[in-house]
């Protein structure tokens, strides 16, 4: 009896958004009198970080520190429409809507600053610290806090903006399947290194290497969390999870986390991840969606590594010890 090691690969792509019925999201932004910009949305943060990404997109577009941006979501009485958080669409749709809203607000901000400073708005720039200043000059400048007060009390202007992103509907041609379902495609390649115990059938994933091309990592730490968290989920799908262990039979369905198995800390492999960026022309600062795809490539990579290790081709998920042992038995002629 032995522990057999193997390596497997998988390479995948994944669509950003999916628009069979048209796919819009809106954002509104306004400055309070203290120069804090409030982004109003109805988008849902499931833990993936859309609030943080929306704030980053607004801060970059406004040319202000992220501390000057607040996100208010999600109340259908106050927030403009969002289709929802699914189909790897949040960063792409909401990011684009926020950029459009922030660009309009920035335009007003510069106009009011131009009046305050008695210069041409086209000659103004932001420096990212909160100052709006005359290009190439450190003398003519105004801080957003002072500007926002002046806009309200002196100039009677609202520094605000409206944004929407719409991917128009695409109806598939029923005969051929011709359609335009997505906005762009992200890419990934995973290499899995596994060890198979040929006595117990247990598969241990030792290491995962993940390369992702996602347009642009707007927040590289959060993108890393998506890759590593998704790889965990993929490993879990590959080796452990199902609500119907004897599918298509309906019996023995787990009812809680004592029966529904998932990887524990000792089952988590060493992960090595790398990003490539090929900015998407229609993405917010080039970003593509990474929310869903990160669980996908690890599954076949693990299946292929198991084959490499012990010669068993697993064609049914999950890859339980029972399935591995039955495969080994078949190879040995003991089936």
């Amino acid at each position: 009896m032995a522990k057999l090691r193997g390596r497997g690969y998988a390479s995948v792509n994944y669509p950003t958004g999916m628009n069979l019925g048209g796919d819009p999201s809106q954002a509104l932004i306004h400055s309070t009198t203290t120069g804090t910009f409030v982004i109003t949305l109805s988008s849902v943060d499931l833990g993936q970080g859309i609030k943080t990404i929306a704030a980053q997109c607004a801060a970059e577009t406004l040319g202000l520190p992220i501390e000057n941006v607040l996100v208010d979501t999600a109340d259908t009485d106050t927030g403009p429409h969002c289709m929802g958080t699914f189909a790897s669409r949040g960063t792409h749709r909401v990011g684009n809507a926020v950029i459009m809203a922030a660009a309009e607000a920035r335009g007003v901000m510069l106009e009011v600053a131009a009046e305050e400073l008695e210069v041409d708005a086209a000659d103004l720039e932001t420096d990212g610290t909160g100052l709006i200043k005359l290009k190439g000059s450190d003398e003519k400048s105004i801080h957003i806090t002072d500007l926002a007060l002046a806009a309200h009390f002196k100039h009677g202007r609202t520094i605000s903006g409206r944004g929407i992103f719409l991917k128009e509907p695409s109806t598939p041609v029923p005969e051929t399947g011709e359609m335009d379902p997505d906005s762009c495609q992200a890419h990934a390649c995973t290499a899995a290194f596994v060890e198979v115990d040929d006595e117990t059938g247990v598969v241990e994933v030792l290491e995962l290497y993940n390369v992702y091309e996602i347009g642009r990592a707007l927040n590289p730490a959060m993108a890393t969390q998506q890759v590593e968290g998704g790889a965990w989920m993929g490993l879990s799908h590959a080796l452990f999870e199902t609500t119907e262990p004897y599918y298509p039979r309906r019996d023995h369905g787990p009812r809680d986390f004592a029966e529904y198995l998932m990887p524990g800390p000792a089952d988590i492999p060493v992960q090595h991840s790398l990003f490539l960026e090929r900015p998407a022309g229609n993405g917010p600062y080039g970003a593509k969606g990474i929310g869903e795809m990160t669980a996908n490539a690890p599954i076949p990579a693990i299946a292929n590594a198991v084959f490499d290790a012990c010669g068993v081709r697993l064609t049914a998920m999950p890859f339980t010890p029972e399935r591995v042992l039955r495969g080994l038995d078949a190879l040995r002629g003991n089936a």
């Binding site: 051929t176 290499a191 298509p248 076949p300």
Partner: protein
């Protein structure tokens, strides 16, 4: 702040990028992280209005049965039980998941009428002063069933003589504009099989998978003084929930207000609008706040999982590794009702034949009804299981040809300008580059010709 950070290799597409940013591309702490790890984040269940009632379902104990009668006598006698809702109490007793984008028919009762089509289907909703009383009431509902034959296997469900699962469809599959499946037809796959040096056909399958969010699906509905309903929900889509709920209640859209946006994980499991409509009916009938939240059993066995799929892939392959034809027959197990599965099946079709340029592609993607818990969206909807099949297939083809599995992928990878099987021109492709980088990371040597390949040129092809 310490965090894991994967490096970014900016060399491959350096000419296509600008990097003059101050906030984009920087690490900013996730705005809700501190609240989540210190327990200060407020979720919908932290809303605790006075006079809150609790709703629990009595669910089908059968996979497929006619309901001969429902006896509520004992349940109504449980102290604390305020009201029990049946199908007759729901103004429009059919879910409307895709109605607003024109996908019909509506096929799923909110509360069962004369039939149950899966184990765990809701039959009546017990509303009580306490969770314990609601559970006790739900346990004391008596349903008289007449069992019907059930079908659980996707291919058996499509066979002649199979029990009919869902009368709203009239057949055990979803009909796409007159077709029995979502089709892809590109080139001539049969001709490719005739020309190929090798033909390989294998089968793959999966079982249903639970989204497993930390926070289970639920809502708290609070009637307002002005006659509106405020719905605190962990939905993934606030307006979608609002629109669907209003259609079922038969009230103007502006009578409802959804408050949400902070959710303890969704993974697709909170896209179906299942709990809000019945909780709203209960709140309207009692004029009191009502909470309906799944327990973990309901989340795992009743709430829609990732569909099981069965996939057959047949490839036409040349000796040099070029795949010249791919035929995919894919069955998605939708369970007893459609929910979002017709859409996921279309997404599966659009994903074929994977990230490769194959000149002849034929795909039939079937959305099949069986007597199990309806499946619906989950992370990677329509793609995850397809990728398992496609990438296992690529590995098997490479091994059958005694070819390096990465070289096989690089040879067939789609490039900018290629026409995909669904007739969209590929742009912004980068499969070649991620494969090359992965090879580099693990010390997998590629010949010079493969290292020089690029998504933006035809070099090496």
């Amino acid at each position: 702040m310490t965090y894991r950070l994967a490096p970014i290799d900016k060399s491959p597409f350096a000419a296509e990028r600008e990097d003059d940013f101050t906030v984009i591309g920087s690490v900013v702490q996730r705005s809700d992280a501190r609240g989540h790890v210190t327990g200060r984040t407020e979720f919908f269940e932290d809303v605790a209005p006075p006079g809150l009632l609790h709703l629990k379902m009595h669910r089908s104990a059968r996979h497929h049965a006619r309901i001969r009668g429902v006896d509520l006598t004992e349940a109504l006698a449980v102290p604390g039980v305020v009201r029990i809702l049946t199908h007759a109490d729901i103004p429009n007793n059919l879910y409307t998941p895709l109605k607003l984008i024109g996908v019909e028919p509506d096929d799923e009762p909110i509360l069962a009428v004369d039939k149950v089509r899966y184990l765990g289907e809701p039959i009546c909703a017990v509303v009580a002063e306490s969770e314990a009383a609601a559970l006790e009431g739900a346990a004391r509902v008596r349903v008289d069933y007449e069992d019907l034959p059930a079908v659980f296997d996707v291919e058996e469900a499509l066979a002649e003589g199979a029990p009919l699962v869902n009368e709203y469809h009239g057949r055990n599959f979803f009909t796409y504009e007159g077709h029995h499946c979502r089709r892809i037809r590109f080139g001539d796959v049969e001709k490719a099989f005739g020309q190929a040096d090798h033909v390989f056909e294998w089968r793959y399958e999966s079982a249903p998978i639970e989204q497993a969010p930390t926070e289970t699906t639920g809502c708290v509905v609070i009637p307002q003084a002005d006659g509106r309903l405020r719905i605190h929900s962990d939905t993934q889509a606030c307006f979608f929930t609002l629109d669907n709920t209003a259609l079922i209640l038969g009230v103007p859209f502006n009578k409802l207000r959804i408050v949400g946006g902070t959710v303890g994980g969704g993974f697709g499991g909170k896209v179906d609008v299942i709990v809000e409509p019945v909780a709203c009916v209960a709140a309207m009938m009692t004029d009191r706040p009502v909470k309906f939240v799944y327990n973990r059993y309901e989340e795992m066995q009743v709430s829609s999982p990732r569909a099981a799929e069965r996939i057959y892939i047949k490839d036409a392959v040349m000796n040099d590794g070029r795949i010249i034809g791919r035929k995919v027959t894919l069955y998605v197990d939708s369970g007893a009702y459609a929910r979002h599965t017709p859409y996921g099946t279309t997404k599966a079709a659009a994903h074929m034949p994977g990230p490769y340029s194959i000149p002849n592609v034929w795909a039939d993607c079937h959305c099949v009804f069986t007597n199990r818990t309806p499946s619906s969206a989950m992370r990677g909807f329509g793609v995850t299981i397809g990728d398992f099949a496609l990438e296992s297939q690529m590995d098997r083809v490479a091994r059958a040809l005694s070819m390096d599995p990465l070289q096989l992928r690089l040879l067939n990878a789609y490039r900018d300008g290629d026409l995909k099987a669904h007739r969209k021109v590929a742009e912004g492709t980068a499969l070649v580059e991620v494969v090359q980088k992965a090879a580099e990371m693990v010390g997998h040597e590629l010949p010079e010709a493969y290292r020089r390949m690029s998504s933006t040129t035809r070099e090496g092809l």
